[in-house]
Symmetry: C2
Subunit: 106 residues, 2 copies
DNA sequence: CTCATGTGCAACTCTGGTGTTGCACATGAG
DNA sequence: CTCATGTGCAACACCAGAGTTGCACATGAG
């Protein structure tokens, strides 16, 4: 299973700043750490660290262009996690329905 | 919007121990902190804290029965978060398609 | 070439989350 | 009533994560 992917994505999305970063990158289609630093109240280095985490989670992808590094969003990992979550919710629903059925059976 | 819900759920699911707890509770349909402590390598108190977090996130729900507190899983918040994630992934796909379209347009 | 701009690397601080232990309180079993 | 079991509360230890600063390196602009 893709538990590793889910694990990384959840850990990455847990931080509000990282979610904000993803929003910003998606909004511009592409962005550099320095550019992003201008839109958030944190240093460039802090953003670089967040981008590294997002990259390890597979949520972001970087390309070096000249002397700058451009980051772009990658939907696959997010999609995988969304599916995992949906099926988990469905599983819970199924279990709860079963419990309820047994309870009403008395 | 249900940003608060998503926020809490993501933060709660970020911890592996909490995801494991959810699995255990869902598997048994219902469980107490003491019972759960028997299935994990952590103290009961640690589990209580995790359950509190899960409760605040709306992922778990507790009922006091006599001298014990039984926890059960609640799918709504998880479902909400799954939908949020799915629509976000779709949004990224849309943006990327747009970028690609422009790029090929040269 | 020279200089400004954008990155990378490393050391450091500091807050928050995870986990523990110890003890007091409540309640069902006998 | 008495005792064992299940919780609740509080203080404490510990470590990873978020953020900062300082400096060195690379590369495009002039």
């Amino acid at each position: 299973m893709s538990t590793d992917v889910v694990d990384g994505v959840l850990a990455a999305l847990a931080d509000p700043t990282r979610r904000q970063l993803l929003d910003l990158i998606a909004a511009h289609g592409q962005a550099t750490a320095t550019t992003l630093a201008g839109g958030l109240p944190v240093s460039r280095q802090a953003i670089v660290k967040h981008l590294t985490v997002l990259g390890s989670a597979g949520l972001v992808d970087s390309v070096k262009v000249g002397r700058e590094v451009r980051y772009a969003v990658r939907p696959e990992a997010l999609d995988t996690t969304a599916r995992w979550m949906t099926s988990l919710a469905a599983d819970w629903d199924r279990r709860l329905a079963k419990i309820k059925r047994i309870a009403e059976q008395d």
